[in-house]
């Protein structure tokens, strides 16, 4: 059992995600940075998509009542056992009676704490991920609070001292490029509007959570039109449509919002582009003020990026096997 002494800012149980229900409005949820989740789990001998803790900006303080092997990946937020620092991206032991907490965030936004055996909350619709808006999954469908007790599953073979090689750790930067495919509604933008979207260095606002990441920087020029039946009067309104995860909507033609894994499944704002799925991990590790440029790629490039992302996952798995 793990006792929550301090919950951090918003710590949730997340796994590989709850896929297959977006058509009925239930988003995939799961770790926003899937690569770091996988790395943390593989470090402690878990299945890559097992349930772990996602810690945003400020880590929790946890008291262990059992011996455990754990690993922290993702954001640079140094873990400490009884006040003594431990390495990130490397598994280590925690003894019954030990207290695990975290130093300040110095890079990235979300740290992942995996425990050998996984966080053993009940699976809901095939996943242990917390979907806060729907009060579903995780621990009672909500972020952790003080006094919570987290059950740990039976561990097969967690070993301390396993490390992710440097070259397989993500680079956490304050200036990032996010690759996107334009569409489906970029025809609502003028050529100047599209140029503004791709030419602006956007700044991530503090409005950035598991649902969406809102950016400030410029207003996009839209094509004039008579609103079609069913669409609102604002130039950014469309007839309601499904929202893909990673789609970038621009309400009022200002402040693009990247929808992430807890997003609503549809609505009436134009989506001018969609983030490549592998680059959603970079979005997940963006803290407010991160300077961001959107780079348009075509379908062939997008597929090549996806293949490279999968290959990196295979290399990670191979590096941590055994």
């Amino acid at each position: 059992m793990i006792e929550v002494r301090k919950p951090g800012l918003s710590t949730t149980v997340q796994d590989g995600g709850r896929t297959g229900y977006y058509d009925v409005g239930i988003p995939p949820s799961g770790a926003l940075d899937q690569y770091s989740l996988r790395a943390a789990n593989l470090l402690v001998g878990n299945q890559a998509g097992a349930a772990a803790l996602e810690c945003v900006y400020l880590g929790p303080e946890l008291a262990f009542t059992v011996d455990a092997v754990v690993a922290v990946t993702g954001a640079t937020m140094t873990p400490r056992v009884n006040g003594e620092e431990r390495a990130l991206w490397e598994s280590f032991e925690v003894r019954a009676g030990d207290v695990l907490d975290f130093g300040y965030l110095t890079a990235g936004a979300r740290a992942y704490l995996a425990v050998a055996g996984g966080i053993d909350v009940p699976a809901v619709l095939g996943s242990r991920s917390t979907y806060g808006l729907g009060a579903l999954g995780g621990l009672e469908g909500r972020p952790l609070t003080e006094g919570d007790r987290l059950p740990v599953g039976p561990s097969a073979d967690g070993t301390a001292g396993v490390r992710v090689p440097e070259e397989l750790r993500p680079v956490l930067a304050k200036d990032v490029e996010i690759r996107v495919m334009m569409g489906l509604y970029d025809h609502r933008l003028t050529d100047a509007g599209r140029k503004t979207f791709l030419g602006t260095t956007w700044t991530l606002t503090p409005v950035a959570d598991r649902i969406g990441f809102r950016y400030a920087g410029a207003k996009l020029e839209t094509v004039e039109r008579e609103p079609p039946f069913g669409a609102g009067q604002d130039p950014s309104n469309i007839v309601d449509a499904p929202y893909p995860i990673g789609s970038i909507q621009v309400p009022g033609s200002v402040e693009p919002i990247i929808l992430h894994r807890d997003a609503v499944s549809g609505g009436g704002y134009m989506m001018v582009a969609t983030v490549l799925s592998g680059d959603l991990d970079i979005v997940a590790q963006s803290a407010p003020n991160t300077r961001t440029r959107f780079v348009a790629v075509d379908l062939d490039e997008a597929l090549a990026v996806r293949a490279a992302h999968r290959e990196r996952g295979r290399r990670l798995r191979a590096a941590l096997a055994g």
């Binding site: 800012l9 918003s10 945003v56 900006y57 400020l58 300040y104 965030l105 110095t106 936004a109 606002t205 503090p206 409005v207 950035a208 959570d209 803290a287 407010p288 003020n289």
Partner: protein, 86 residues
């Protein structure tokens, strides 16, 4: 005794007041205790209170109200109260 920097533990929007109609938590030149809240940082629709962390005189704020701050960024400076040994 070294000056104490009050650091925001999280990224977000920095506020000097508990709400727009209230007085600031602390003014420059004011004496504070370690447990006194000196500002709020808002992120993801939640407001996080930041305590002084040391007793003494709050010399100056290093950021403006409603500035976006980063985790680990100093937001104010305290000149600790020194108790002279007898």
């Amino acid at each position: 005794m070294a000056r104490h920097e009050i650091v925001s533990p999280i990224p977000g929007v920095f506020y000097r007041r508990p709400d727009p109609d209230s007085d600031p938590f602390a003014a420059e030149g004011q004496l504070v205790t370690a447990a006194d809240t000196v500002c709020l940082v808002e992120v993801m629709k939640s407001f996080h209170q930041v305590a002084a962390g040391a007793a003494g005189t709050l010399i100056e704020f290093l950021v403006e109200n409603e500035d976006v701050v980063e985790a680990g960024q100093p937001v104010a400076v305290i000149e600790p109260t020194v108790i002279e040994a007898g």
